[in-house]
Symmetry: C2
Subunit: 602 residues, 2 copies
């Protein structure tokens, strides 16, 4: 036990980001809710209030909260869930040896020590956020989200000027709890919030809200350990991951996932198929509905918030992939395709989709309908296989909605820029505006090692067009498993893409941070520039490489121009001159035309 | 002398990229020209010819060529220029102490040891590529470029399928020398090729050609040395920079530039204003036309291929910047603005623009009309100051064209995604389709340390919309001077942006490399994946971090999925099955609908 503590606890990154304070905003409908936002203080000379930003990092960045990963995070939503009176605790499924890949002894990851009994819906009750929304109920989760999405703005009268092209999205000036409810009721947004993951802070994924990002973590048969994965989750949320997918394969999947969920302040997604396949020794054709069903319940009881389900891979679509340059590149898709072919029938996911809905509904696990036939290369983008599957995902969406389940749709992949918008337009049309959740897309195949960038370009664009959540791609994509630095690079790149999309969509509060940082830049408030940056550490260390002295952090120049050339300084001189000389008045005369020469003493 | 040799020569990076051979293609109109392309060999199992890619790296990557930076590169174009009989050698301007910032003794960078006399146009002759083009002359430069742009394709009958959205660009299936001539004659493309830089390999910048990228280098008052700068130039072109701008400030500008030009296989751009300002002690208001004119001649004689000239900063526009969040951020723009204000008159650049044209014409220095009022923040994008200046740049373009000068137009800066296209559309309309050359643009201000990415997004988009050359931004933008790693990161990021733009525009040969790499990925040809990548070294080292063994480079799996899960491997199984079972025929039956179940023995 001590050994485990030693190997795990010291690895967890804690503490606030520079100049940042976590502040909790109370609810009005639900006065007991406390919604975290991060306030970044600026230098007193600015005469500006702190800049409030969205904060996905949970208690880890709050120095007043004790962190003990063996206890797990506080069970924030436990009382809200219990108060609804529509769920019950039960014994739950017994952990089986195959859940951890038959790992034993030293190879078995320790069980999480503070296990709780799972809950599920009482007979005849529907406990999903979409069911509440349709019933007109504003849950605490919905009010929490409304406050969170407003980034600290308090009321509609703090109205900011709107500037953007939203392609039909309808982002309100101010998000009300009822707006959240309505968007969830219409299926246009989801709140991934398994009743068995009460530690998570509610968040929303939808086109009329801030663009979200997901970070993938997970060990594989080849490498990585539990302690690393928990820290990767904490680390990813520290830099802004809104959800985390645990894509573990290999051994110890069950136990590692428990540690991750119990300590995660963000929703956790998974691909249950991966674990199910492990249970049948990795042989796709040996997978059965019974093994898969058991895995769904196992993961739903643990608290996974959304499941990727590759039910759109239909038998007749597989031949459409045969002449592709890169065939089927989705792991889930290829597993399902192999099973379909072997048995010459539709997959058990497609055939049992309604039963899957019934399971998900009992725990409020959201669907992430997987794009098993997504293109894996520029050559295969927007092809018949991809769009055939998308049509099926649209049909499945309607089935899930009829079952009161929450749904989002996964999208590509590899797509050249001129074919990106078609993906978004088709998804909106075919899937009834269910949120789109894309992997990139990568806009070229020729830069392995830089696929965070090839895909960040596509992600920013598709986010602008309306994608609700962007699944990150790290520099290691196609090459290896991301380490800690890759996770950070991936998250920051995707925060850039999501924010660029929010700006372009015209989100009313997105520009506040850009403007604050740019004012800091113009006024040579170097510390503020670092602190307002997505990654203050990197900004500071890059600055210090060239101008390490403390004095230079207040200097009115930087290393690019040096003291005499600085354009910002000259701009200040111009502004001063304007104040003294009434430049606007002079400009009118200049613009009057004719001979533009003005005597110096004018 | 020995000391200088020691400190310089060992730093130059030489040798071919992995699996790459530099091949020279001969001309037909001019049989003596030898156009370099890079052939990347793939593994024999692929059964594919090598992939031919554009090669900006010059003799440094040709192991058959001796490199001696004290001699400079071979004077490739010297005979072509002499053969035209319209230029003459002359004594040239004497180097003055102020050219090197009055550096003396140990602080003075050594003079380049192998100086040649400069050339200029004979009286009454016009020696610009646009003048030749308008006269119907296909110069060796033009044929060189035609061969280069075709990326090794030999004839129009190697026609590739077209797929893209070009927004009015008209990229031909096959570039002929006469097409190059016509585009140059129309002013829609430029060939930056000072007659005093015969070492440079001809290249073209225009909307109907491959999108190009520029890398900035240059020492500053604060840091950096000549040896570093020469190596940065070589390093930048090794990774794909099509032109290099020397933005040096501080001391030794003249001597460092000489070393750079004499050793540069790509066109060199500069901002003569920076050096002129150094000559007057950094006091903007002390700048005069005489000092500036002298600097133009100094740099034209050395061989600078294009000059950034901020002649669009007019007196009446300056007040338009006063209420900006970030004022004037262009160094050149702020210097000119300060001078304008101080003297209350139009700048000497604007007033003497025709004389500047006369100087440029005598050496064939191309114009890069500077955007001195470009926005420095999201808040200032597309504002009145920026677009007022653009209108003036359009007027200046027409003046330069009337003088038989080549012109491109510089563009922003910081622009949110939804405002990017307006920049391109306006530039095309106002500047008569002269090539656009943009800095990014950055699509958000909030990520210092990652501005290669914030701007790579904007660069890819504006490149797609029609920008002819993208000026790179490194991770150090806003923070410090880029080092060697930053230069590489900036160049690779911009090669990604340019290539993504070529793909989206539907350049007929762009997809060849994507497809070759994707096939290598699908067939687990790991070595080919690395070799075909923009940065083979990084791709390989990232792969080896997780799976270092040589055996894994031929393994049919990677570290993400491990051997059993690999989706690519499963896709191969599917393809094999298709071959055996005639899957297309079966698919027809599946698609016929009804009960999709097919008995296994069918």
């Amino acid at each position: 036990m001590n050994i485990a503590t030693k190997t795990i606890t010291p690895e967890i990154t804690k503490g606030p980001l520079p100049a940042s304070t976590k502040v909790y905003k109370p609810g009005e409908i639900h006065p007991d809710i406390r919604v975290p936002v991060r306030e970044i203080a600026v230098h007193p000379t600015a005469g500006e209030p702190p800049v409030t930003v969205y904060d996905a990092s949970g208690p880890y960045t709050d120095p007043t909260q004790a962190i003990d990963i063996e206890m797990g995070l506080p069970r924030l939503r436990a009382e809200w869930i219990a108060a609804r009176g529509d769920t019950e605790e039960y014994e739950g499924r017994m952990v089986k040896p195959e859940d951890n890949g038959f790992a034993t002894g030293e190879r078995l990851t320790l069980q999480f020590p503070n296990l709780q009994k799972p809950r599920r819906a009482k007979d005849g009750k529907t406990v999903t956020q979409i069911a509440y929304a349709r019933a007109g109920i504003i849950t605490p989760e919905m009010e929490f989200i409304a406050i969170r999405e407003n980034l600290g703005r308090k009321a509609a009268n703090e109205k900011l000027p709107r500037d953007g092209e939203s392609f039909g999205a309808a982002i309100p000036d101010f998000v009300t709890p009822d707006f959240v409810r309505e968007e969830v009721a219409r299926g246009r947004a989801i709140i991934p919030a398994n009743i068995n993951h009460p530690e998570a802070e509610p968040m929303i994924i939808g086109r009329n809200f801030l663009v979200k990002i997901n970070a993938n973590i997970g060990n594989s048969a080849v490498t990585s350990s539990m302690a690393e994965e928990v820290e990767k989750m904490v680390w990813a949320t520290r830099w802004g991951a809104d959800t985390v997918m645990d894509l573990s394969t290999g051994r110890n999947i069950h136990n590692i996932r428990e540690w991750i969920i119990r300590n995660s302040p963000v929703p956790i997604g998974s691909v249950p198929l991966y674990q199910a396949l492990e249970k049948v020794g990795g042989i796709a054709e040996d997978l059965t509905w019974e093994v898969f069903r058991d895995t769904l319940i196992e993961q739903a009881e643990q608290g996974v918030d959304y499941f990727t389900i590759h039910a759109g891979v239909r038998l007749s679509y597989i031949p459409l992939t045969v002449n592709r340059v890169t065939g089927i590149v989705s792991r889930g898709g290829s597993i399902m395709a192999k099973g379909c072919l072997h048995h010459h029938k539709e997959s058990f996911l497609y055939e049992h989709f309604e039963e899957i809905c019934d399971i998900c509904r009992a725990y409020d696990v959201s669907f992430s309908l997987g794009d098993g036939l997504r293109p894996g290369s520029i050559a295969d983008a927007n092809d018949a296989a991809q769009f055939a599957e998308l049509e099926t995902l649209g049909e499945l969406t309607k089935i899930a909605w009829a079952k009161d389940c929450q749904v989002m749709i996964e999208g590509p992949g590899h797509v050249p820029m001129h074919k990106i918008k078609e993906n978004m337009d088709k998804q909106l049309a075919v899937c009834g505006e269910a949120p789109f959740y894309t992997l990139g897309p990568l806009t070229t195949d020729i830069a392995p090692g830089y696929d965070h960038i090839t895909s960040g370009i596509g992600a920013a664009m598709i986010g602008w067009f309306g994608t609700a959540m962007l699944c990150y791609v790290t520099p290691k994509e196609h090459l290896g498993l991301p380490d800690r630095n890759d996770v950070k690079t991936g998250v920051i790149t995707y925060k850039i893409a999501a924010h660029a999309a929010d700006l372009a969509k015209g989100h009313p509060a997105a520009k506040v941070r850009d403007d604050a940082l740019s004012r800091a830049r113009f006024e040579f408030r170097w510390e503020d520039q670092f602190n307002l940056a997505l990654d203050p550490e990197t900004a500071r260390s890059m600055h210090d490489e060239t101008l390490p002295k403390e004095a230079h952090k207040v200097a009115h120049f930087c290393s690019m121009c040096g003291p005499k050339f600085c354009s910002m300084r000259i701009s200040h001189d111009i502004r001063d001159a304007a104040r003294q000389e009434g430049m606007e008045a002079m400009a009118v005369r200049y613009r009057a035309g004719g001979d533009l020469y003005m005597p110096k003493d004018l």
